[in-house]
Symmetry: C2
Subunit: 345 residues, 2 copies
Amino acid sequence: MTTRTPDKLLLRALRREPVERPPVWLMRQAGRYLPEYRAVRAQAGGFLQMVRDPELAAEVTLQPVRRFHTDGAILFSDILLPLEAMGMPLEFDEGGPNLPRPLRTRADVDALAASDPRTSLAYVGEALRRVRAGLPEDVALLGFAGAPFTLATYAVEGGTSKSFLELKKLLYREPETLEALLARLAEMVTAHLLFQAECGAEALVLFDTWAGTLTREDYRRFAEPWTRRIIAAVAPRAPLVVFAGQGEHLLEIQLALGAHGVAVDHRTSLAHAFELARGRCALQGNFDPGALLLPPAEVARRTRALLDSVRGVPGHVLNVGHGVLPPTDPESVAAFVATAREFRA
Amino acid sequence: MTTRTPDKLLLRALRREPVERPPVWLMRQAGRYLPEYRAVRAQAGGFLQMVRDPELAAEVTLQPVRRFHTDGAILFSDILLPLEAMGMPLEFDEGGPNLPRPLRTRADVDALAASDPRTSLAYVGEALRRVRAGLPEDVALLGFAGAPFTLATYAVEGGTSKSFLELKKLLYREPETLEALLARLAEMVTAHLLFQAECGAEALVLFDTWAGTLTREDYRRFAEPWTRRIIAAVAPRAPLVVFAGQGEHLLEIQLALGAHGVAVDHRTSLAHAFELARGRCALQGNFDPGALLLPPAEVARRTRALLDSVRGVPGHVLNVGHGVLPPTDPESVAAFVATAREFRA
């Protein structure tokens, strides 16, 4: 089926093949806690400028790999770019993303542009090619996208939200409109992930950041079908990891989605998650990013304890449960990565 | 031990005694979705003005009871008032609460004032007495407080937070300082709850809004001991319900705390929670407040389905899983309450 040789540690772990040690990377490993990142950002002038400039995006993607020698490099990009590509204006300010023309009606959904990521998101592809060219041989390149439900929350709310009022109104009052939106987003996300695989992404992550706000029943209707559709289309091309923020109540459903990996955060016991998974998929996680605020020695101690808790279980990718926090000391991240690299399974 | 006659439906359900139907009330049942509330608020000029005025606080507490005939009336107040009573300046603006002098050091904690709620929060007691005097005989009056961990997040962050950076720094770098703060808060919360019981509160709710951000391990260290201490001191005086926001991973621990009731949100299956509880406590919940945005007939249908899912199980208090949302139509809340009142267990 595939000519790929899955010899990189991260890819082997995602396929639950034997590994000499667990691979490690960190969500938001490229970010504000790194002085070299802040220097590039200051030069670029803003977040979107960095994301849209393949040279700068590649540079900040490579920074944590150079500094820590992580086993994965995740492209520096943003989950909302496909919304912009579909015609929704997008801005970033201090408070986060802002989509000044949110979708509220079926007509709004129907007015979304058809968009081919090969042209509308060509800069993402170019950034991936540049990263791939600069990456050590043993480091895997990861692409990613937001899951349709999470993208829908941003499209409908116009930004981040605490209570997801507009989304809930749509979900409860006009579920067919929401489903029409989800179908459009699933199509775009699928195309975008496949495009990233074409451009050199060797594994993919599907971030369903806000899925945890749904009940199991609503997740089954408004998230699972589209996630399954994406997995079916994309997983044959590159191993895919699914992440559901605040989604412990969805874990059983996620483990059965058919993804190569499921990301869990620090609130889930990793050993328990492996029991539930029963060999169906790999698990990614689940160090508390808050614990990376500790001194390096204590980070190393806690990292070893986490690795010991699942020693010998195939299919573990060490990661944080959520993104690295801005005030994190790079030395603590170094201790986290080094502990994984020195561990013997 | 007690001279109380627990004949009100809500109190009987919390003690898991036989009831003819499940009692019902709603978190944030007094609030902006009610035109009569907005009228009082416009007159008062602001949120804190209402909270501190016993007449206005009593009036808005009674409004939903008059309109819907809920089985419980929860005092209109705020969990942060005990922090103010301990010397922390407190403001409310559009973005929520603001504590301009957050605690960051052991010296800050030691500088917190000793405070007797009978004097520093006398207006809360006066509001409770006024509500009690105006309440129909069959409606139970509820008092409440924030749990120490949640109050600590506000005290340390200076307001609400997304990532709880300052709190995590303290938790990981100076856990003894955080424990000293939690001890002070537990003492104040205990006194405040006992004071509310003295002033007529017949049941109490302990809101641990941010507990769900903790791992089980950290919950056991930084929340459970203080919560248990409060329950031990308060539950002999009035039945106590504990609520942990985003806390599904903490459910097993919560069910074993010794509280009369545990609140669960819509992400937890109520029937499953009753199985886990094994008769140890009552359960409160767990209608999705987002579903109250539906038309009344659909709210009634979903409410019946929820009640049917635990029909005949003793100890259910029907409620929403989180507070009522501002754009909710009062007619949908009316349908929710009426459905419970017409239900036969």
